[in-house]
Symmetry: C2
Amino acid sequence: MDKLTVIKVGGKIVEEEESLRDLLDRFALLPGHKVLVHGGGRSATRLATRLGIESRMVEGRRITDAEMLNVVTMVYGGLVNKQIVAGLQARGVNALGLTGADMNAIRSEKRPVKEVDYGFVGDVNQVNGDMLADLIAKGIVPVMAPLTHDGQGHLLNTNADTIAGETAKALARHFEVTLVFCFEKRGVLRDEHDDLSVIPTIDRNLFAQLTAEGIIQGGMIPKVENSLQAVEAGVRQVIITQANALGQPNEGTVVK
Amino acid sequence: MDKLTVIKVGGKIVEEEESLRDLLDRFALLPGHKVLVHGGGRSATRLATRLGIESRMVEGRRITDAEMLNVVTMVYGGLVNKQIVAGLQARGVNALGLTGADMNAIRSEKRPVKEVDYGFVGDVNQVNGDMLADLIAKGIVPVMAPLTHDGQGHLLNTNADTIAGETAKALARHFEVTLVFCFEKRGVLRDEHDDLSVIPTIDRNLFAQLTAEGIIQGGMIPKVENSLQAVEAGVRQVIITQANALGQPNEGTVVK
């Protein structure tokens, strides 16, 4: 099977001109098939503020009412996505911007209201892996915005980590997939105050041990758990690292 | 050759919920291959106003500075395009939203500054007809936003009529193309105050005669001229009509 790299980058990296340029340079140089999944939360919050719309978050997740859905559709599907696509085209990468609605790439359902009503937020049901694999095999590089659709005409705001994970899993039937989560730190750290304390490799056993010891905690727990689940669903490996380590070997934490 | 219909709809139709729903219903029912090209100017102006950005127009064309480019990228590439795509998916149409940057669909160059500096506005250089034809033959329905790119990383605001015309011409090598321009009137009128005075057919000779007589004037002159040029470049026919006549035979003005 051909190799494929699915890279998820957070909002901060794609929202600042210099870090975006550096990311696109690095991404363009990566060999083989690739997919870029991006966030854009900071820009969405900034636009919402300018429009007098309040951004409400619960445990890091955005409450998405009808007005906020329009904001994220504009920012994720329009501004951020198209700037990345144009930037990659300029670097010789044949990028195609996609939301989950485009070619029915990712179908989701509106999150049920329990303790929290997240509004127009989607939980992924199905990724159209065959269609994406067909595009990728033709040399197209999908650039995926964190928006999906419910098949009934509604766009839904969807977590970019989830999109990256589910896309990587769906493509594991077609490619040998490496999934890379880029975030602020160099990897999963033993000591959050020591940037050099990167844990080189994590598997399910070490994860259980490190969470029991309190070394992996907070927001890192779902990130590593999602990574392990991706590996268990057929993704070859997941790398948790910084965007500026893209393309450099032996950087970050490898989950497998 | 298979038949293909390229339909251009203005901003007003896609920006109001009811007329958008009606358009999508009609568009979904059209037989054969199809492409939708949309505007979105009113929404762009509205968003700009809310953001305190002044909309400046010269002869109906928007002056697009850096801030306005962001606005149109959000509105055309994000909000309007993705709502159409999701709405078509709900109607069983396998829509794919595209700007000119996506898959290098439409390359343009920044309009040179003469009497007017239009800013980040693109004049179309090349439509990637082979790529679009390949998608269309697979059952994909491109939904095209009025944005192109210069291949150097810049998005450019581009007239939707021009995108529709150039796309129709590029696809005329692959399909028997009908290009439909939807606007407010039922067709090209002999008497602008009489909605029933639709001129059924216009060719180059009649156009010369009607402009000389002052019957075709103002904004209709470039519309018909562009239509004639499309026909001369291989498009089978151009129909100028109202969106709510889509799918109805013998409506509007046929340019051929």
